[in-house]
Structure formats: C-alpha cells, structure tokens
C-alpha cells in the first residue's frame, strides 16, 4: 500500500510535449480515476506511473521513494491492460503464477496464492484453460487475477472495461469497486467514460491536453465544476450551455428571458450551464424561465429526454420524468432553480463571483 505523488511531471516525445508540469497526490488506499477525452494524456500518465514510459521531467514518488528509474516490480505496481495482454500460450494458472515465478517464489507458495486469487475472482474452474478458450469477461477476470496475486502496493487499470459489452461492463464495474473495498490497495484507473469514473472513483482527476482540469470527489466535480470543460464532461446527458449577456445588473438570455445578477468584474458575454436533470417542464417553480421548441422525444421508460432548441437556436436537452403528451414541434416552457445554474466566462473559467437573482419585475 502506498501513496503516489507526482511532482511537476512532464513528458515529451521529441519536440512534442504531451504532459507539462503536472502535480498530483494520490492518497494511500484511494480509488482514483483519470478521466478525459482521448488524447488527453491519461494513459501516458498511467504508463509513466507503471514504468512503461520514461518520465521526461519531475519526480514520481511511490510509497515515499522516488520511482522514476525503478522497474515496475521495484515500484510495487501491477497493471490490468485494456486488451488484457494475457500470455496466449500459457494456461490461466500459469498466467496468474508468472509474476510469482519471476519473483522466485516456491512452488507451494505460488499454488497457494494462485488458488487464493482464483477464489476471490471465482475463476477456479478456468485455471486449466488457455486464454483463447475464455470469454471476454473471463479474460478480464484472469487479467485482474494476474494483478492481485502479487498483492501490489498500487493497482493500475488502463481502460480495462472498454472491450466488454455494455451489460458486462456494468457488472464488472461494480465488481472492481467491491474488489477495492476488499483489498484496500491504492488503485489508479484510467477511462474515457465519465460514467465509470463517477460510479467507481473516490477521487476523479479530469485531464485535458496533458493538464489537470480538476481533481475531486465525483460529487464535487458534478456539483462544483471548476470550469466549463469539467461541467460538460462530467454528467450525462451533457450540461446545456446558454449564451448570456450581462448589462448592468441584469443578464439577458435567449428568447428574452432575464435574470438579475451581481458580482465584480463580470465579462459582458458569458454562458450559463443548465444540467438536463435540473430543468423542470412547465411554468411552476421559480428561477429561470425559458421556452424551447421540442424537436425529438427520447423515451427511456422511467424518464424522457427532450431535444430541441431555444428561440435563438441554442440547442437544448432537458430531462422530463412526467411530461406525457409532449410531441416534436411543441413549444415547451420550463424552469430551472437559480442554485442549479453555473456561470462560466468565455474562456471556460467558472464565474464564482457571480450571484444570480430572480428577474426584476417586468419594467418594459
């Protein structure tokens, strides 16, 4: 078990700098998820922690020692690969035992630990098989078995669920989360899927273009995003962004809606974020009042997603749990409580200084 600290880490391929001056503290025993769009550097970061990519600059500390130049075993890490990377010519048992054999353990000790790992993952009946004769889910378990058998200080997962079908992904997700509760090792998990991040993580690190956009618990990221990128990336369906114009103590919104506002140094143009699940169809409820033209109704059983646009053409998606009878082409009024709105500057930065007020009584 170990704490992982990245201090001013950078990574370049020749002239191309993909990660720059990145610092991060990963608590001992935490389940930390690196999430971000493809090409954000999350896998590179994980591979640097693993020892599969050289670190160009900065310090990597694992368990208090500098690990930049250690090989993976000395770092005390184990890794689960996206494509599982099982040894195709070895049985499941030999796959799991390989690292122990390399470490020079005795036959009895290896057998004991393999059996233990197999039991945790319920793959005891597969031990004699070759990877080619396993299903995707079984391969995934073997890959995890190969990692846990070493009892490493840090587990690394590189998009381990992306090759599984949707149903299996959901069940493996909860299994990995349970595994973490049981083993309590530090786990670092890379994914591009924000749902995986939200459901599994103690802490999420959102990355973009080699930089950390925000670090925090799933709830912090969802409720208090540091910028428009995080706000848009976390949460599904995506947050809606409405253009707004600040004039004096009022905000003008598409379709003539207005809000009062107060704050220092506000930009003239800004955007307001509304999560689909925060909007309420109808005219009841206070806060922001808007109207959208519905273009498409997605019925999902328990809920509905209404796609459409505001008067100025801004795309809008809201969730409606009870709005039977709405059809494409309808004009639908909806409201949103002010505390659910998030304001962002044109460069995406969160405008924390802005406080929103109910619209002043109609003057015009």
């Amino acid at each position: 078990m170990a704490r992982v600290t990245l201090r001013n880490i950078s990574k370049s391929y020749g002239q191309l700098e993909v990660i720059r001056d990145l610092s991060l503290d990963i608590e001992d025993g935490s389940f930390t998820v690196f999430v971000g769009p493809s090409g954000c550097g999350k896998s590179t970061l994980l591979r640097m922690i693993a020892g599969l990519e050289p670190i160009t600059g900065g310090d990597l500390m694992i368990g208090g020692t500098r690990a930049n130049d250690l090989d993976p075993v000395a770092r005390g890490i184990a890794m689960v690969f996206q494509n599982y990377a099982l040894y195709p010519h070895m049985t499941v048992e030999k796959n799991i035992a390989f690292s122990l054999k390399m470490a020079g353990y005795g036959r009895a000790e290896i057998a004991r630990r393999v059996a233990e790992a197999a039991e945790v993952l319920q793959i005891g009946h597969l031990l004699g098989r070759r990877p080619a004769n396993l299903s995707g889910g079984q391969r995934q378990r073997v890959a995890i078995g190969r990692a846990i058998v070493r009892d490493p200080a840090v587990f690394l997962f590189d998009e381990p669920l992306s090759n599984l079908d949707a149903e299996l992904r959901v069940s493996m997700r909860s299994e990995i989360a349970q595994l973490h509760q049981r083993l309590t090792n530090t786990m670092i998990y890379v994914t591009h899927d924000q749902t995986e991040a939200m459901t599994m993580a103690d802490r999420i690190v959102v990355l973009r273009e080699g930089r950390i956009e925000q670090t925090g618990t799933p709830q912090e990221l969802y409720e208090d995003p540091a910028n428009a990128f995080v706000a848009g990336f976390i949460g599904s369906p995506r947050m809606n962004f409405l253009p707004a114009r600040a004039s004096g103590s009022a905000l003008e919104l598409p379709g003539g809606a207005r809000l009062g506002c107060a704050g220092d140094g506000l930009p003239r143009e800004l955007s307001l974020g509304i999560r689909p699940e925060a909007a309420r169809p109808g005219r009841e409820g206070g806060g922001l009042r808007l109207e959208m033209e519905v273009a498409l109704v997605e019925y999902l059983g328990g809920t509905r997603y209404l796609h459409g646009h505001l008067a100025d053409g801004t795309a809008m998606l809201i969730e409606a749990r009870s709005a039977a009878g709405i059809r494409p082409g309808d004009r639908l009024p909806f409201t949103c409580p002010l505390e659910a709105l998030r304001a962002f500057a044109p460069d995406g930065a969160r405008l924390r200084s802005l406080s929103l007020l109910p619209a002043e009584p109609e003057t015009a």
Binding site: E53, P54, D71
Partner: protein, 273 residues
Amino acid sequence: MPVTPPKWIIALVGAIGLLWIVPLIGVALTSLQTPEAIARGWWNLGNADFTLDAWTRVWTEYPIAASLWSSVKLTAIATVLTMLTAPAAAYAFHYLRFPLRRGTLILVINAFVLPQQVVIIPLFQLWRDMGLIGNVAAVIVPYVGLSYAWAVFLVKSFLEDFPKELIEAARIDGCGPVGTFFRIVLPNLVSPISACAILQFLWCWNSLLLPMLFLREDVPLTVMLARIAGQYDPNVNMQSAAAIVTAFVPLCVFILFQKQFAAGNQVSGGGKE
C-alpha cells in the same frame, strides 16, 4: 519490455552483425590488394598494398560482361515467365471448377519437395537429344517449372483474401472467366506478383547447378565464378572482384526489396529450390 533497450543487447547484436560481415569486408579488401600482398597475408596491415589494379583488369581478364549479360537474360526471362504464368494458374485453381482441379493443385504446390538434382539427369538427356544443351531454354524451362510450387501457392494464398464479390460482380457484368482474370484480378495482384518476382529473381540469379550443366559458353556469373575459383589462379584479387560483381545485383535487389522478400517467404513457407 524495458523502457530503454538494455545496452548489452545492442552490443551483442552489434558484435554478431559485425562478425557476420567480416567475410564480406574481407573479400572487398582482397579485391583491392596485389596478388603478392595477398600471398604475404595482407590481414597483417603492414603487408597490405592497396591498389585498384584488379578492378581495372578484371573486365578483360574474365568474361564478365558476357556473363553479366547472360545472368541478366536468363534471370529476366525466367522471372517474367513466372510472373505471367503463375498468377493465371493460381486464379484458375482458386476460382474455376474443372475436373482433377484439386488433385492437380496438390501436385503443383507440393512439388517444392523436389530437389533440383531430380531434374538434372532426365533433362540432361532430353536436352542432349533435342540439341538444346547450350541453349538458354535449357535453363529457363526448369527455372520456370520449378518456381510454380511456391509461386502458385503464394498467389493463391493471396487470392484467398480477395473479395469474392468482385468476381461475382464481373460475372454479372457479363465478363467471362478469362476476362475476369485479366481485367479484375490481375490488376489487384501487384503485391503477390512482386513478391514472386523478387524470389524468382534471386533464385535464378544465384543458381549454379542448372546453368553449369546445361550451358556451354555464355554462362552466367555464378558459373563463371565457380570456374575461375576452381582453377589454380594466383589472381585472387581479380577473383574477388568478380565475386563482388556476381553478388552485387542480387544483394541490392535483396536489400531494396526486403519487405516483399520477407512476406513472400512467410507465405510460401515451404521454401523453394
């Protein structure tokens, strides 16, 4: 796999690589010595005596130009014939249905087990009776005939991944089987045919036994080299120059077309000769 390759690996492979070209460097340097320096042992660099003498005289001393022309002629004709006939045969075996098809195919692709030695007695008698000893055809016919075992196999392996829809579309468009071969299949066979060409080129150029037995004058470079290397001749420097000339063309072809060569060898898998 370590992040940075261990240095000892590069050093070891480097040492073996250098060891492997010592004979080549040796022959190259020998061609730059005088016969006297060679006799003294030029390896001891004190005895070395560098000169381009061998390279200026070798062209007149040995029939290099004639042999080079002979090598080019034999190799080019045999290679082109294989390139033309093997794909047609592979296409027929793969797409057409006719009696004894599978039996014939099995016979052809398994002919790779035949050592060249099997050919020489019967063909020697046949060419002698037909008066063909000394004629280029005496060498070209077995060059081409022995190439099918791997050439047909190689092209047919490629055709196994060729989209069948294209053949069916051509048929629906009213194209007959022969036309389909020339218009649809052949233009898409560039990569296996070039692999065939490389293999056939190298094999023919480097052959010794068949041209040695079936040709008299106008022998290719390999036969000329074998003849001068066999006789007692102190001009080792000129022999070395001749050896370099002999090896030069196939070596260049080989290095330039490594990829096709590798692919061809992997697919045909059964080797050749």
